[in-house]
Symmetry: none
Subunit: 213 residues, 4 copies
DNA sequence: CATGAATGAGCGTTCATTCAT
DNA sequence: GATGAATGAACGCTCATTCAT
């Protein structure tokens, strides 16, 4: 049953996988359909049996890359009573996600082709950062309702928290200045983000972690 | 005396200027040496008399683009007694600079070619973000010495402040989701950054602006 | 009984019909086997079960297109006593046939592929112009026998008459200079052809129409 | 002096010559830029230094092919007193021209690409058949003024005469049914055309040649 | 017998680079 | 030093043909 439908999908996935490797390594302009075909182990003609054009294949590649499951980043946060601990967990997961090779590559490629493919930049934004902000805003609003935070503009605060998670290591990885990030650096950024956020929007100053690193 | 040496330099600058226009408009892959030659008003052969290859020319283009004068962003901050007002001025200038067309193009182009030209990403980092952080750290340390701020890790706090300046509008402009930013949005981000920073690192809670927007 | 043999023939005809539409619209080089398959409602593989190659299918297409019924162009001419009236009817029918979309397309396609498919040009000639000349010669000879015409070389005179029917409108339509021809233009050419023919080969000068248009 | 300007023109002519050979042999669709480059002895890139695209090169090829000197076909006709002798000379020259390899190739290629390049069909018509008709009409009108012909519609009569010159051999050569035409066949067509024309439009029936072949 | 996925040679075109002038 | 004609490899893409199912 599965075999019958899976054969075309398998080839399709095979091509997308090849495209993933090549787009990831070369970017959009640098990738050639010949190389994608080679990487995918199919002929050039076959590529065009599955995708109308290079740009179509690129769009499919981007769209499947952006489909990251954000839900589990926030799911445990609601079960946590202490806002500081919840923020810590959120920041940690968010950073791990943003620093994953796939996310970094996607960011670079979407930024570089934003002019040529504005639609993809929008898709990237809607599926990635925007959804993350919405999740974060939801969590903040629930905390406000519980009296644990005091946030006049939850959306804006959400954006601030998420941008704080990109301090130091985010930009360095996006620029490929370093290839890996050790856990201590991540922990430093997480604590810094949580500290500033709670100082600014927390209701119980005693609950704030000390800024000393 | 100068004329003799300046003629070749003049032509060199002429080429770089042409390259600037074309790389800025088309990116690295999209720019053709023919078009750069046309834009610079020289022949293609002359291009190769001054620069070994397209990538060499690109490197020179990036290196001259990154040399932004950061000094004036911070110069007035030291003359300001009130840390909040100083931070406000710094944030405003920093955002204007980062949102300028040249900076955005440079950012996009460096990010997109980071894998192919890691050296340029390093140059970009050293000349741009890193210098900005250093300036910011210097200002913070002077404020700490004056007893106006309480910052355990000035470098890290500098990075936090600068990343807060990229809340909301920065990423949207980098992704070309919008083409312009109105001053009210910038002011909102500036106030948000200053508020969080002072709440976290200020010594006089009364001086903090109200977070209500 | 018939059904058993007709099924494959039906599919064959179905393919030829699709080919007719596509070759007619796109010419030989412009037609793709994919499009013919689509138009015929069969798979590309099936095309090759019935026809060895694109050129084979093209040959079959041309051969069936040339089979125009010329008989009815001449059938009424014999029932007409007056040679002038008979010639008028023949010329009119002949022009309508030659100016029909199918004939024009066939002419263009055979001329353009005459070098690549000399056999098809021969088939076109034998089935079309040559048969028309033979019909015309037969009619002329019967008129000569009846004493109504005086024609030393009936075949040559037949060719002259038929070529006169192509004056003005024929070449313009073949070159696509115009897309339609109005009846007045056709009538003009018909009268001109009949006039010259009767002046040259008629026995009764009084029967000739006046040349004044 | 000449050398300086001739070098680029020489290369240009070299390419056009190669294109001439290939277009002539393969038609527009069948000709490949690779083959034209090979035939012209230049690289494919050089082709594009001189001509924007294949269709541009084709247009140049057609436009230079159509520039046939029609003047000398008619020049001696005016010096001839006898209309029959003049018509004979005109018909002979016209047929030789139309049956030349270049003319035949041009006709075939323009007819086959009339749909894709309507402009070229128009150019062909204007430069070739239309100019021939105009020359012929001019000669007829002068003969009418001299009282040697009686032609109610000189333009139409010109078209009839020229189409009569295509009897038999014209269509056969256009369809490539034969590769050469012997002089006797041409003479037969010429005499037939002159005979019909003078019978229809001459003023002196005694001057008409006998139709017997 | 019908299918349509797969092929790969070939298409028109671009462009970084070279080099004779 | 400046030129720009010439190159040729590589590009995205098409399509007649094959063959396993």
């Amino acid at each position: 049953m599965i075999d019958q439908d899976d054969l075309p999908n398998a080839k399709r996935r095979q091509i997308i996988h090849g495209a993933e490797l090549v787009f990831t390594e070369c970017g959009y302009e640098g990738a050639s359909m010949s190389r994608i075909a080679l990487q995918a182990g199919v002929s050039k003609g076959t590529l065009y049996n599955y995708f109308d054009s290079k740009s179509t294949l690129f769009a499919v590649f981007v769209e499947q890359m952006v489909s990251v499951n954000l839900a589990n980043i926030f799911q445990q946060a609601d079960e946590e009573d202490d806002p500081g601990a919840a923020l810590h967990a959120i920041a940690l997961r968010m950073m791990k996600m943003m620093l994953s090779p796939g996310s970094l590559v996607l960011y670079r490629i979407v930024v570089s082709e934003a002019r040529k493919f504005p639609h993809l930049a929008t898709v990237f934004w809607q599926t990635g950062p925007f959804r993350a902000i919405e999740h974060m805003r939801g969590w903040i609003e629930r905390q406000v309702a519980l009296g644990r935070l005091d946030v006049p503009d939850p959306t804006f605060a959400a954006e601030q928290f998420l941008v704080l998670c990109q301090t130091r290591v985010g930009i360095q990885r996006r620029l490929q200045l370093v290839d890996e990030t050790n856990d201590a650096d991540i922990e430093r950024v997480v604590q810094g983000a949580v500290y500033l956020f709670l100082k600014g929007y927390g209701v119980d100053p005693l609950a704030s972690p000390e800024p000393r690193s």
